[in-house]
Symmetry: D2
Amino acid sequence: MKDVQSEKDLRHIPLKHVGIKNLRWPIELMDKERGTQHSVANVTLAVDLPHDLRGTHMSRFVECLRTLGPVGLNEIENILDKLKEHLQAEKAFMQLEFPYFITKAAPVSGMTAPMDMDCVYKAEKGERFKLRITAVVPVQTLCPCSKEISDYGAHNQRAWAKMEIEASELVWLEELAALADAAASAPVYGLLKRPDEKFVTERAYDNPRFVEDAVREIALRLEADKRITWYRAEVESVESIHNHNAFAVVEKGE
Amino acid sequence: MKDVQSEKDLRHIPLKHVGIKNLRWPIELMDKERGTQHSVANVTLAVDLPHDLRGTHMSRFVECLRTLGPVGLNEIENILDKLKEHLQAEKAFMQLEFPYFITKAAPVSGMTAPMDMDCVYKAEKGERFKLRITAVVPVQTLCPCSKEISDYGAHNQRAWAKMEIEASELVWLEELAALADAAASAPVYGLLKRPDEKFVTERAYDNPRFVEDAVREIALRLEADKRITWYRAEVESVESIHNHNAFAVVEKGE
Amino acid sequence: MKDVQSEKDLRHIPLKHVGIKNLRWPIELMDKERGTQHSVANVTLAVDLPHDLRGTHMSRFVECLRTLGPVGLNEIENILDKLKEHLQAEKAFMQLEFPYFITKAAPVSGMTAPMDMDCVYKAEKGERFKLRITAVVPVQTLCPCSKEISDYGAHNQRAWAKMEIEASELVWLEELAALADAAASAPVYGLLKRPDEKFVTERAYDNPRFVEDAVREIALRLEADKRITWYRAEVESVESIHNHNAFAVVEKGE
Amino acid sequence: MKDVQSEKDLRHIPLKHVGIKNLRWPIELMDKERGTQHSVANVTLAVDLPHDLRGTHMSRFVECLRTLGPVGLNEIENILDKLKEHLQAEKAFMQLEFPYFITKAAPVSGMTAPMDMDCVYKAEKGERFKLRITAVVPVQTLCPCSKEISDYGAHNQRAWAKMEIEASELVWLEELAALADAAASAPVYGLLKRPDEKFVTERAYDNPRFVEDAVREIALRLEADKRITWYRAEVESVESIHNHNAFAVVEKGE
């Protein structure tokens, strides 16, 4: 059968990325506490394409992905190497978006339950391997202005602490989750009994934080971590007094 | 050209619905305060199909929709009549999902801004015309348990008050929005200055409401309205202490 | 601590559902070929609430869910029984929405890869246990009209065959997937090499199907299965010549 | 009342962005053919924040947005100037995401209907004004490999041609839509009668295009337009033989 993809291309336009997207795939992830955990990823796989080749061989992306083992840093680089080899490319790219579960203990009762967070591994390899890790941790923010100006109460809400990092060594998703919890008005939990609810309510009231405060608290902690070479942090709150969200962003070096 | 759709079908299976979905369309809506307003709808159009016909003529749905005028009750029935006629059907069905804006004044400063809510008109006509109207109004709920057990503060959050109704007469979307505001701990606004924020914070603290409370307050008001012949009400809150939502549902006659 | 939820309610409005929604949870599912498989579910849990009780105890839903074992029919009923007991309710409700993977072999090369489909288990138990299973199977449809009237070619597209069923005995998700494949112009695969692509292209061209045809082919097969006591089938195609979708619905008994 | 936001901040962390997100707002847009058209936008507004200020004044974003007139290049810059002034910032940022409708005539019958596309205006102003315009145009792609290797037929599907550009002069969204149509196997329409469907089917079969081909055809046209100073183009196809998508990206200067 004719290999149409391998035809010469005369348009002189190299492609930055060519590949597949929105591929759902069952994955096994390295878990700091339990060894591994299972999840389902939304996968993007791509390579670059030189200007003189008409197309890539899309089925080879899935063939490489079929060999994916438990996902850690080495395994991600390993898949990128395979993509480069099997697709005869200079650069390979992979993105895995997945929910990740951490087991959280309620602050008073100690009862445990899993809590989900959205995470992303975004990796590429040309000459060298580059990886960005994103964790979106649900937390609570309580408005300092509302607390200050009101005779009682203060509006609060669920918020997302989104951290995207590059690091020179392994940083666990569990570490990013703990860091976000410390930076917010209060953590969010999967399971709380009444004494826990009292504790969390008072903790949030004692720690009022704008999105501006929370994102700076995150940035301070990311700056202090010597493993982390670059970061972008964003806190977005589902404002309980508006139908829109507030957000604040810090990016290293900007 | 051959009309494949009009071929005889021998499978003896009538179709409840056949039509088009996920069609975005600019619409003009009746507005209680301002006469009309513009929005963009996600449209579903369908008819039934008798067991002995192979297919319907999909392009006629769009042809009928092109004649849509400002959307009120008469215009919706009008389009259903056209669908029945042009597609030679016994029953026609239309659903319009759209954001609708109401102008809200802040409670102290009186400053105004539009606030969006998701709405749905779901209509069908066989022998008689039937219409369900849905409004999803963003509101605030403050947890009575959290307030009661804590020395200070109380967790609160954005919530959606979703009302689906059938009525014997016109019920404005603005009326459903006002009803939801009255049933919640506090309304949600597009624009609040500091004195407004103080007012809203204290109002919510003074009116703690579980989702169970808020949905019952809505049900009481819907029951008391003689125009409303059926309803389903749901309140869902984006819990600020969890990463999942709480919800409660009342349905007339259940 | 005061139990605010257990206060008397004087509004005389029973709640159909009260519970939690949008709770993500890792699950293990019964798998026809491999014993079990892991996935991540979006979970809804609810009970009814009598008119004279103010609220339910939300944390007990998560406490019950923590005991969830590998998900089969018995385990679903088991959780519903626990919910009824621990929340002192007459009725309990659970919905699990999750991606499910089936391993498909390409039609010529025989190469295998997982393919995802969206599935739902929707269960309730009052006096008796009731379960609805939904599978949304991606397939291909090729337009019979386009083939007939064109000198060459025919527009085709990805489509979703959505089947919701009640059954007197176990029906595997794998069975619903196979049934959808047989009803469409061609199945959809995770991995196809060139001889497979030729096969699938020609198979679709040889089996042109409107959404009306495909949904009737599904209905014929569901009707013929004695285990299936009720169904609703829908086929929706992502039309390649329009920016909207076509769909057709059959519901047993309508 | 105390102005908590204006407190000194001692954490020495400047914020890149602080503002509001997910604000839905009715807008009026400049329309090449009809003067203006109405739509609904999802709005992001932000400014930078110096290291020594604790917070911004969120309500001022909405106050500025209330003055938004029909959206053209001048009006976008105008709003950014207001944000800089009213929020005393060095930089202001605005993003509008909205559906935009173009009226398309069917290729044979000439019948017209609106067709929607997702568009984005992403603007910022520090010392100078910078604007990126994105249009996501639905088109059809027909696979050259499938056509070549099959005895008859060829798989085809809906695809998105996504173009993000910077330009020295006005480029209409209508121009980007026309450019995408020319680069694809065939355009997509809101309304087609049977002679149109025959035409479109044959046109796609006569113009097989991989995503790699289509994105290069787009890049050639964007390169040739002297007004366009930067672009990123992506074509993503909803593969009809798989449950994942294929995509290709070109970025100027990479």
